[in-house]
Chain length 463, copies 2
Amino acid sequence: MKGLAKDLAHLVGPEGFSTDPEDLLVYRHDAIAYFAQGEPAAVVLPKDTVHAAKVMAYASQNGIPLTPRGAGSGLSGGCTPVRGGIVLDTKRMKGILEINRGNLTARVEAGVVLAAFQQAVEAQGFFYPPDPQSKSVCTLGGNVATRAGGPRAVKYGTTVNYVLGLEAVLPDGEVIRTGSSCVKHSAGYDLTHLLTGSEGTLALITQATVRLLPKPPATCTALAVCPTMEMAARIVSETIAGGVVPSMLELLTTASLAVFNRFVTPPLPEEGEACLLMEFDGTAQEALRQAQEMAGACRDMGAIDVRVVPQADEAAVYWMVRSRLYPLVVSRFKRVVTEDVTVPRDRIPEFAAKVMGIAQEMGLSMGLTGHAGDGNMHPTIRMDEVTDALQARADQAMARVIKAGLALGGVISGEHGVGLHKAEFLELELGREQIALMRRIKKAFDPKGIMNPGKIWPPELAS
Amino acid sequence: MKGLAKDLAHLVGPEGFSTDPEDLLVYRHDAIAYFAQGEPAAVVLPKDTVHAAKVMAYASQNGIPLTPRGAGSGLSGGCTPVRGGIVLDTKRMKGILEINRGNLTARVEAGVVLAAFQQAVEAQGFFYPPDPQSKSVCTLGGNVATRAGGPRAVKYGTTVNYVLGLEAVLPDGEVIRTGSSCVKHSAGYDLTHLLTGSEGTLALITQATVRLLPKPPATCTALAVCPTMEMAARIVSETIAGGVVPSMLELLTTASLAVFNRFVTPPLPEEGEACLLMEFDGTAQEALRQAQEMAGACRDMGAIDVRVVPQADEAAVYWMVRSRLYPLVVSRFKRVVTEDVTVPRDRIPEFAAKVMGIAQEMGLSMGLTGHAGDGNMHPTIRMDEVTDALQARADQAMARVIKAGLALGGVISGEHGVGLHKAEFLELELGREQIALMRRIKKAFDPKGIMNPGKIWPPELAS
């Protein structure tokens, strides 16, 4: 261990790493403490790509596992150092290197916090849509590594749709620059998107070039309380097919209505089974027109309370409540297990019915909220106590939820990634042949298998 | 050769292939006849994935080169069978398998012609934006294989932004299904995008699941004649940064104005050095507002003729002329050499100046049109006669154009792909390390090197 500290001091200077056990404690897990497995021998905080490359070349030469880490706000155990070794924390690499007005692109270091970046581009009249709910802490590098999404995906897509190019360090310390800052690019294999969502298993992402949009001048919020979940899901799919595409479209359950009623007047009818919270954007006139069109459709289809909220300050209250629902749930229960199965938008009604059926059959308290506009649902098991038996039942229920999603043409993860949490389900989605191919690709990047070992692959394959 | 014919008859039936020399003639090249190199031993027209998989497994066992082909409308020699073997023509696989209204997705076979697909989705009120100019013949599978773009990329992106999932046959005959029909997806490596733009060197794409949009209800066209190319380029970059994003934005040169004047009244002032042809979409009101805003900006910045054309039939004339400019140029010259270097949008003025300088210095007739909104320019050398000396000079000029584009942060190809045509320039863009990595990925898919051999890689590496 002393040898490692000495070597790291030589490579990145004493302020560039730590082997202090107290410092290392926090690096044992991401936002879900019970995924903690293994402990790093050291954490390195490279100040730039050169530092990162030096440390990676050193690790490669010495066969030391490397686990890249952004803010550690993930929910699938993706950045836990299960084989020990070095955690590479990008937090010191937080430069916004360029915001190019004429080209509508920006270039940032991996450790830039998403919210800080969004503020910087908005101050110049631009817009970077991806918006995972952890945006106040999560990093752009982490967003790219996990293919992060968020509520705006319904209209704007996810991180995938904005990354144009990357700088990345290969495990042997070589630096590559993939893609470009051009929207059109058709030369060679698309390594930019291959690295996007690779969860630190192929290379360390050190910089990203992303596409910006002009900021829509206005937004308008709308809300509809529906007597049944099925009706809410049908409204989503029918109205979007009809051409009304909200910039955000969240499906919330009954329990949320009581929370809204602490903040908004007039109160919402709490007998509804589901609630749709939507935002439209464009010019003020255009945003209002879309919201009214959606409100009309919701009324026609039988919603019991529909409101359009054009005033920004009033709308902000609704979205503030939305953003606090998950933290509120987490604070009120001993343990909360969240899934992010995604199904094609038209299968949401069936999926919702399946999930509710599973919860009832297994006697579990389960909530179902989600980014319904893009089919990304977050079934959430809420546990008042944590026992092995209850956890086993929760695991069993979630396995059934995941299989139900797959049977409807869905995927095991919409935006959280595989990490540790979903590894056992990967084969159900991809099949053996595709996993074997992906592992050959992994080998093309990382022949020694030092990058984020123990992740993604089904447990029997994890090296 | 008789053995091959007998084997293929056994695998796909007598109607599923040809070894007739007359049939094979057309498979020697794509849309650019002078890229012809090599001749296939057979062309196979699989009727479905099962057929394709059988033939590929057979080719793999016997070490026979395989060259996938869509409509053969490419411009870089990508589908020429330079090592002989079997050409896989997907034209019989032209089913539109599903248009899913509720999920806004469609699933198609690889051989579906783009225009036919666009008509089918538009008949249902939807919209599939990618629009390479060869859309009346090119196939969806070919679009995916080459990461095809087109004028709408400025607002809507390219094929990359619409492919959600693929069915593909690996060289050994195994079938994989990548991605999904969900907009959000974060499990495993993004093989969908890795195959997109891989130009048939990794696998045969047999089906694609793509994202649809609701069809914008209206469009409005605008046109601005600018005294200088530099001004036109500046208008593009400034107005888009300011929030006015056209659905198409084409930059045309003086020569085009004369062609327009055969069809439109009042005539355009032919003394302009460049012309911007733009389309805006949305509601009728919204499209008109954007066109007027852009027209105002063009006037303010010094355009000498600006017109807004809200009537669809009148606008169609402008776009008809635009679509005929390239075929017109091709028909009027003995040989036309077209590049598709792409530069960041804000570098177009510098790039245009460089290109014009190179043309002048080398005494060549060069046109410069392009999808300026996304930086994708098409410098075109027009040759009245074809001599080895002139062709050598044209090659030299284009090499300088490509290097000028790269020096401005551009890429060697925006939408045509590498094929044969750009292979010698790939290393300039990607560097040795990245090419070595891509070749390891190639090996992970195609260990025997039978997929489209002789393409993409720098000549000294091409197997």
